[in-house]
């Protein structure tokens, strides 16, 4: 009889798949040149990804989750943040982490089965480690945001999950608590079409993943996650709201997982080649290169040099990883408690003695 509430979900796209602009540049991107450092990060990330996969294929790395196709979203997320902000990633947002200073060798150590990867050396010490239990990081980030608000710190918590992750109850708990406490929280849903073998449409009956934020009264936005300009503008708005005390946001980034879920997966079992082929037409890198080249701020020579440089830097990181000595057996007991309880000292001593006997 009457309308109790009304909602619109906005969609942002500036840079079309063909590299042309859909309209004027938004505030987040003053000019083409400002995109150069981000573009270079994207290129570096792709270089890293390829080499990491190769490393896994040759048995020198454990299961690895690639980020192929997600570069604009991942790098954009990292690039939009201030060092004092807190990032709560899932397990593949290396692009965001590199933008925050994390050394690539950390990624390799982690997927190489070494806890020291989670030191995230090079990045802000307060960032969260990789998070395997899906979307728990979203709610943890809400707690981080609550701690900022209570202590009147002007910081933003940024958390990232996938389309699958947006089905997780922890995701909804993050939405609900961010709304209830009006928190400086940005929930980034990287919709890459798949959660391992489960397609986006099997996750939910919702038309957009962005609209999940309505459940908690959050600001909701859907952006073309392969369009770095839309990514940056969407994040700019969300950060501004968060810093101004206007509360939390849910941003859905529409992108595509061009690789298998991880190196342990074989996507051919469940998805069509045609779909993947079509997705390659929309991927984030080519359109941005086209745009930057058209704008005269990038050229082949620059790219060649940068690629070479990137390759060299990644190789250095790989070497650093491969040359990291395995932790001694007692590392198993380290950091379990601030101070190891006496019973555990006994176990630790026993483990060390066994090691020396062996």
């Amino acid at each position: 009889m009457s309308t109790a509430a009304h909602f619109d979900i906005e969609y942002l796209q500036y840079l079309k798949p063909d590299g042309s602009l859909a309209g004027p540049l938004p505030p987040a991107v003053p000019d083409a040149a400002s995109l150069l450092p981000i573009f270079k990060q994207m290129l570096f990330l792709r270089t890293f990804d390829g080499k990491a996969i190769a490393l896994q294929r040759t048995g020198k790395l454990g299961t690895y989750a690639a980020s192929l196709g997600h570069e604009a979203t991942h790098v954009g997320i990292g690039y939009s943040m201030q060092p004092e902000d807190v990032l709560a990633p899932s397990y593949r947002e290396y692009g965001a982490q590199f933008a925050r200073g994390v050394l690539p060798r950390q990624v390799l150590l982690y997927w190489g089965g070494d806890e020291r990867g989670n030191l995230l050396t090079g990045g802000p010490a307060h960032d969260y480690p990789w998070c395997v239990p899906i979307s728990t990081q979203m709610l943890m980030a809400s707690g981080a945001a609550l701690s900022f608000k209570l202590r009147k710190q002007t910081k933003v918590a940024v958390a990232v999950c996938g389309d699958g992750g947006s089905s997780k109850t922890d995701f909804y708990a993050a939405v609900n608590s961010a709304g209830a406490f009006h928190l400086p929280l940005i929930l980034c849903v990287v919709n890459n079409g798949w959660a391992i073998s489960v397609p986006r449409k099997a996750q939910t009956g919702a038309d957009t993943l962005a609209q999940k934020g309505i459940a908690g009264g959050l600001h909701c936005l859907q952006v073309d996650g392969n369009d770095i300009i839309a990514v940056l503008e969407g994040l700019r708005r969300a950060h501004e709201r968060a810093r101004n005390g206007e509360g939390g946001s849910v941003i859905e980034f529409i992108t595509y997982r061009l690789h298998d879920h991880t190196t342990a997966d074989d996507a051919r079992r469940y998805r069509d080649d045609a779909e993947v082929k079509a997705a390659w037409e929309k991927e984030p890198f080519l359109r941005l290169r086209k745009f930057l080249t058209d704008q005269g701020v990038w050229d082949e020579a620059q790219e060649k040099a940068w690629l070479e440089d990137s390759g060299k830097r990644v190789d250095e990181e790989i070497n650093a990883y491969l040359n990291t000595p395995v932790q001694p057996v007692e590392a198993m007991f380290d950091y379990l408690y601030a101070e190891l309880p006496s019973e555990l000292i006994t176990q630790r001593t026993e483990a060390m003695a066994r090691e020396h006997r062996a």
Binding site: H126, L139, S147, A173, D334, Y337
Partner: protein, 328 residues
């Protein structure tokens, strides 16, 4: 300063207030902990005293409480969360195991999780379903946690202060049946008690009775009853279940040669099993009699009409002790 004797729950309130005053990174959160002061009144008066930014009413979701708590703790605060009842802790298990217990471990000390989860625990108050559960065992196989249970006003105060100050996560289970059972003088002196010892509440030479939480009362009563029959029972309040101070128990069993373990959780794989196992491993040749466990039955605690028949009673403890005494 409390010159008056106070109850166990008042001791908890007193400890919370002390630490809220002393350490501004401490916050309290949970359902109804604010203006209402908690359904058991554990946080009574704290909202008025410290304001709604220190004493937070959360939305009704235990997953949320657990997740927010871990998030705050890992960013430098010291949250003291409340689960309203034992039976509502289960949705918190994921965050406790996957994040709280591993934050320091996983990040090699870069991030930590100094939090306390308080939870009214156990049966015997004629409450509705899921308000009477003894589920401590769930947390005792989880490395990286401390599981603590006070059994007197003084220990409630000292152990809660210690739990809040501890740099690692602590599950602090409060035996609700004895919240208001008796009063004790509990000076508000901010003195914490150690979290790594079992408390010998009564010395004895014939048999060791090991227990924790609300059953401490029945166990002490059983010791009294046994004394009348000339049996000298030593009573140990475990207090901190994990990491366990087994040395204190071993020392006692070495002396007495007999051990009865009392707890209200179901028997199979209750925490009493761990203590009995340790005795079998480390005190075998001291034992004069088989270890006994006096526990809840291996069924759910029934609704309140039958619950007292489920719980260990003084009678059951005495009977078990006498069975043990029959060996020599």
């Amino acid at each position: 300063m409390s010159a008056q004797p106070i109850t166990l729950i008042e001791a908890i309130t007193q400890a919370l207030a002390y630490e809220l005053r002393k350490d501004e990174s401490v916050v309290v959160l949970g359902e109804d902990v604010g203006v209402n002061g908690g359904v058991f009144r554990a946080t009574a008066g704290l909202s008025a005293q410290f304001g709604p930014e220190r004493i937070l009413d959360t939305p009704l979701d235990e997953t949320t409480i657990a997740g927010l708590t871990v998030g705050m703790a890992s960013q430098g605060m010291k949250p003291v969360a409340e689960a309203q009842f034992d039976g509502f802790m289960y949705p918190m298990v994921d965050f406790i195991i996957c994040h709280a217990a591993r934050m320091r471990y996983r990040t090699r000390g870069r991030l930590t999780c100094p939090m306390v989860l308080r939870v009214p625990w156990g049966g015997g108050i004629r409450a509705p379903e899921h308000h009477s559960e003894a589920n401590e065992a769930i947390f005792t196989n989880v490395p990286g946690l401390r599981v603590v249970m006070p059994s007197s006003p003084q220990r409630a105060y000292g152990l809660l202060l210690a739990a809040i100050r501890d740099p690692d996560p602590v599950i602090y289970m409060e035996p609700k049946r004895i919240y208001r059972q008796y009063k004790e003088l509990v000076p508000d002196d901010g003195e914490a008690l150690p979290l790594d010892v079992c408390y010998v509440l009564r010395d004895g030479s014939d048999i060791t009775l090991v227990t924790w939480g609300a059953q401490v009362k029945e166990t002490l009563e059983a010791a009294d009853a046994l004394a009348k029959d000339g049996i000298s029972a030593e009573v140990i309040d475990v207090a901190t279940l994990t990491p366990l101070d087994f040395a204190t128990i071993a020392e006692s069993v070495a002396k007495t040669g007999r051990c009865v373990i009392v707890h209200e959780a179901a028997k199979t794989a209750g925490f009493g099993a761990e203590i009995a196992a340790r005795v079998a491993e480390e005190c075998l040749f001291d034992l004069l009699a088989p270890v006994e466990r006096v526990t809840g039955y291996d069924t759910h605690i029934p609704l309140f009409r039958l619950e007292m028949k489920y719980l260990p009673s003084t009678d059951k403890i005495v009977a078990a002790a006498k069975r043990a005494m029959a060996y020599s």
